[in-house]
């Protein structure tokens, strides 16, 4: 194959990606326009009504935006105490040892488990616990969905954080050790401050994953269409309302669901952009 043909092939493959993304954005936008036209863009964002009664149809995304944010942030909070130690284990404590690469592989395997399997685990293992603790009568709700979400994003947060921890230059660590610091002191005073912004960005990217996570959350969150009163309440995320109602939706409701999808697309894109920006700015 000539150089020119090869280059054209690469150009073609690359532009397909752009066309697909652009096409997605276009069809989401055009599908969402009827809803935005009917209710107004800002009204759609700020209303928590979800009323499919014919004749008085009214849809707003606020309840799902709030549900998504609460579930995802709680998910991050559940993820943090597991993923950060794992990252330190892989990136510093047992760096370069067999046990670290073994653990790293297992953590990466977590990312490959299908979402529905996590959902089933949450349904059969976590839900009974929530019920027996008396936190929720049916065992569904934000408090059931977010720990599962937290576990699901561990691999994304942990492997990227471990990478940043590993990148802390050795001579800085040695400098601290040479003054009599212990391992814990080196981690606390040198490694975490230096890799801090990188670790922060890995959690931002993990948040991006959490926002759009659909299946497991849909199975566990209880699928209620109002703004949740507390973390013990049931609710819906932007992804779960779409998954739940897309099948039988048409007309204005369908357009509203597509509008929710468009918003989710934009929020996730912005979160990912911010995460990558922080990484770029703090390149070690």
């Amino acid at each position: 194959m000539s150089d020119k043909a090869f280059k054209t092939l690469l150009w073609f493959a690359a532009s397909i990606i752009l066309i697909i993304t652009g096409g997605m954005l276009y069809s989401l936008t055009s599908g969402a326009i009827p809803a935005f036209k009917q209710f107004g863009f800002f009204e759609f964002l700020s209303s928590s009504e979800w009323n499919p009664t014919e004749g008085s149809e009214k849809y707003g995304a606020l309840a799902f935006i709030i549900g998504t944010i609460i579930t995802s942030i709680l998910g991050i909070l559940f993820c943090l105490p597991f993923s950060l130690p794992v990252a330190l284990f892989i990136g510093e404590y047992f760096k370069g040892k067999k046990i670290a690469s073994l653990l790293g592989t297992i953590v990466d395997l977590l990312a490959g488990i299908p979402s529905i399997v996590y959902g089933l685990w949450g349904f059969y293992a976590l839900r009974p616990i929530i019920m027996s603790l008396g936190l929720s009568p049916q065992g569904f709700g934000i408090l059931t969905a977010s720990p599962v979400l937290g576990i699901m994003i561990i691999p994304y947060a942990a492997s990227l954080s471990a990478e940043f921890i590993r990148m802390v230059p050795n001579d800085l660590k040695e400098g601290a050790y040479s003054m009599g610091a212990t391992r814990a002191e080196v981690i606390q005073h040198i490694i975490l401050p230096i890799s801090g912004s990188g670790i922060f960005s890995s959690y931002i990217l993990a948040l991006g994953r959490a926002l759009g996570e659909t299946m497991a959350v849909t199975m566990l969150i209880g699928n209620a269409n109002g703004i949740p009163n507390s973390i013990f309440d049931t609710g819906n995320t932007m992804a779960s309302i779409i998954a739940n109602q897309f099948g039988e939706a048409y007309g204005l409701k369908l357009s509203s669901l597509i509008a929710v999808g468009l918003l989710l697309f934009l929020i996730t894109a912005i979160i990912n952009f911010i995460g990558k920006l922080i990484i770029k700015r703090n390149n070690l």
Binding site: P169, D171, L172, G175, S178, M179, G180, A181, E185, G196
Partner: protein
């Protein structure tokens, strides 16, 4: 120098260090290092000079699989039997590449030894330590108005002096320097060398260098190592004017290395 009473601060006896079993990177090194002087360790790359230096503050323990045998006594204490953390406070270290902590200010870099070890000091005590340590390395006048700026804003030579100040702040008995000027330009190198000659009033210095003229300029005693063996150890003057071993002579005259 000949008139002063010799006092050994560091004694090495039959020191062997190996990275892989059965293969000594440092082989049966025996030497006494005198207090208040500068001793340089020279030799070609891979001769074991840095390996030997790093055994003195037990840096090798940070990595698995390195074994050290023999006796290393610092101030008559067997450092291989001591707590590594105590050893490292007694033996400060300065590295090849200036390594101020990038997230800390100049002030906090100097005081880092105390912060890292969790030693509480009052603001006045800290101010005093910072000022004295920076004066010791002739950096005070250059940085006294920018103490809150990050240490990494300084030039390479200034950063290295900051690292020396950081090591001195803990009042070590001995300062171990691993090619401390190899990343610096000649002017910065010159300043560090002048500084070291000044500093030997305060602290004993052991410096690893591949720069023979540097060893000749600043050190009182010199060691020459080759393939893990200590070939020759004598006053710098004698070693440079009348080396006893053929290999030393060949190295010093640039025949290899």
């Amino acid at each position: 120098m000949e008139n002063t009473i010799k006092e050994n601060i560091l004694t090495l006896k039959d020191v062997c260090i190996s990275y892989t079993p059965g293969q000594n990177a440092v082989n049966m090194v025996t030497a006494d290092i005198q207090k208040g002087l500068i001793t340089s360790i020279m030799g070609p790359s891979g001769c074991g000079k840095s390996t030997l230096l790093r055994a003195i503050n037990r840096m090798h323990e940070l990595y698995p699989g390195i074994t050290i045998t023999g006796d290393i006594k610092l101030n008559n204490k067997d450092i291989l039997k001591m707590n590594a953390i105590e050893v490292r406070r007694m033996a400060g270290m300065v590295f090849q590449r200036p390594n101020p902590f990038p997230t800390l200010s100049i002030y906090d870099n100097v005081i880092a030894g105390y912060t890292l070890n969790g030693i509480k000091k009052t603001k006045d005590e800290k101010d005093e330590i910072v000022e004295n340590s920076l004066k010791n390395v002739a950096l005070w006048d250059e940085v006294k108005d920018v103490l809150q700026k990050k240490g990494t804003f300084l030039s390479g030579g200034q950063q290295q002096r900051l690292c020396i100040a950081r090591a001195l702040a803990l009042k070590p008995d001995i300062l171990l320097m691993d090619e401390p000027t190899s990343a610096l330009d000649p002017i910065a190198t010159n300043r560090i060398e002048e500084l070291l000659v000044e500093l030997k009033k305060e602290v004993t210095i052991v410096i690893v260098t591949h720069n023979m003229s540097q060893a000749a300029r600043i050190s009182d005693y010199s060691m020459f190592m080759y393939l893990g063996d200590l070939i020759e150890y004598d006053t710098t003057k004698k070693m440079f004017t009348n080396p006893q071993d053929k290999r030393t002579e060949e190295y010093l005259t640039g025949k290899f290395g």
